[in-house]
Amino acid sequence: MDKHLQCWLELNALQHRYAHAIDSGTLEAWPDFFTEDASYTIVSKENADRGLPAPIIYCRNQKMMRDRIVALRHANIFEAHTYRHALGGLVIDEMNEDEVKATSSYVVVSTGAAGDSVVYQAGCYRDTVVKRDGVWLFSEKRVVYDTSRVQTLLATPI
């Protein structure tokens, strides 16, 4: 198989496993998609376009990602909700033997306690993915969201 296509398929599978972990509520598995020193940032497209750094979530290593989940489980208070990620538009921007840069789109539909499903957020992932021991992991994930008005709050990672 074409190397590029093979890589696209593998990344596609990675993205879907990532979204599945969040959507099915197994948030404790979420940091495992990253390398130990990976960064995870959620930033508005408005700021990203203007070269302004202020994020809404910024984890500069995997420990901070685990802390985020422990806080969600045990400290933070928010309405119970379910996410459904719809993924698409995966494009490989750069490809080396062990590192790939890729961009893809997402739409998150959120369903709250009352039973309304709303388009909670649309945006794109700007990812750097590396192969460690034969497994693709994110070494950087920048979530750039178009939906600049965050409805009520953002608890669960995108």
Binding site: I56, C59, R60, A71, R149, V150
Partner: protein, 428 residues
Amino acid sequence: MSEAAELAELTQHAAQRRVAFPQPDGSCVPYSVFSSQEVYEREQERIYRGPHWNFVALACEIPNVNDFKSTFVGDTPVVVTRTANGVACWVNRCAHRGAVVCREKYGNASSHTCVYHQWNYSCEGDLQGVPFRRGQKQGGTMLIGMAKAFNPAEHGLQKLRVEAYKGLVFATFSDETPPLIDYIGPQMLPWVDRVFHKPIVFLGCTRQYSKSNWKLYLENVKDPYHASLLHLFHTTFNIFRVGMSARSIPDETHGLHSLITVTKPIADTNTATAYTDQKIRSMQEGFALEDPAVLGQISEFDEDCTNHIQPIFPQLVIQQIHNTLVARQLLPKGPNNFELIFHFFGYEDDTQELRDLRLLQTNLVGPAGYISMEDTEATELVQRGTVRDGDKTSYIGMGLDAPEQTNSNITENLIRRFWTGYQKAMGY
């Protein structure tokens, strides 16, 4: 009495009843103020277009001549723009047929043109050009242009007064509004100075939209009582210290502005014991942050408060939490919604280490903030709980018998002072 007059009187009574504050001390607030369209309309006139200064921008958002920013005063769209003479602010509505003139959030433009008929305005808001004003020749016919009586000087954009203080830009519709420094007042001014004592740089904003009334958010930022009870992040990770020293200071003129600070004690006490003794469901054993860097604090003030929360009524909340610096702009979007825009900033002379920490600590505040995300959840719970029963009231009694106590963080004094000021501003 005629039937019509009687009806008018009844209606008036009904209107008054809807917003009757049963106590003069602000301790009982009728829930109708959170969802009544009538109250909302009155607020637009008496508060946002009344004698108050509305925060519209940080000066560093529009550093260069002709830089502009679209925002709101109440729910009126306005544009703030830097001109050769200072800063101008005008209602974003064409003087011709009422279309929004400026359609971008930010930018740089020496003039602004309405797309509908290309009426063109200077960045001061003065009308400069009207297409076909003098008509047009078509073949042998002269097509008549704008009315003879038309005077461009009378058809500029509606201008607001603008004043800035240490990089904070405010606008007002009213000629009655006192000078900005007097409006901020002697109790609040030193604390504005504390945060804005040197040049700042804009680091970006985050926007949060809540399905609740804007005043519920002001109650929230005047409420130190909820801090360690609603926001369990600090207590869960054994960080929030009972016994921290606190300030809760209202503005003395009208009570609408206020200040809350919290400062760590020099010697730590055991928070877990203090909470469990009172049987408050906050303290959980066994949790620790794997990477506590997010809770660090680099000393940068004479007094390194962990929290400094200062609403300047009606559109600004100044915030310093750990090393985050934020100007929050609070915008009403109808009686049942508000938008909260966090303008993050740092100082021009930040070291890289300090700047990195400021950005890391955006995790604490904003829409996904460890110690702030619950606020909008709480205000929405109040909105949902009160919408039906406008005549019922809240009971705001914490610290009621010690109205002069300003060193407590278990008090609702600032909220009561706010409501008495609000009653006065609204004529209730």
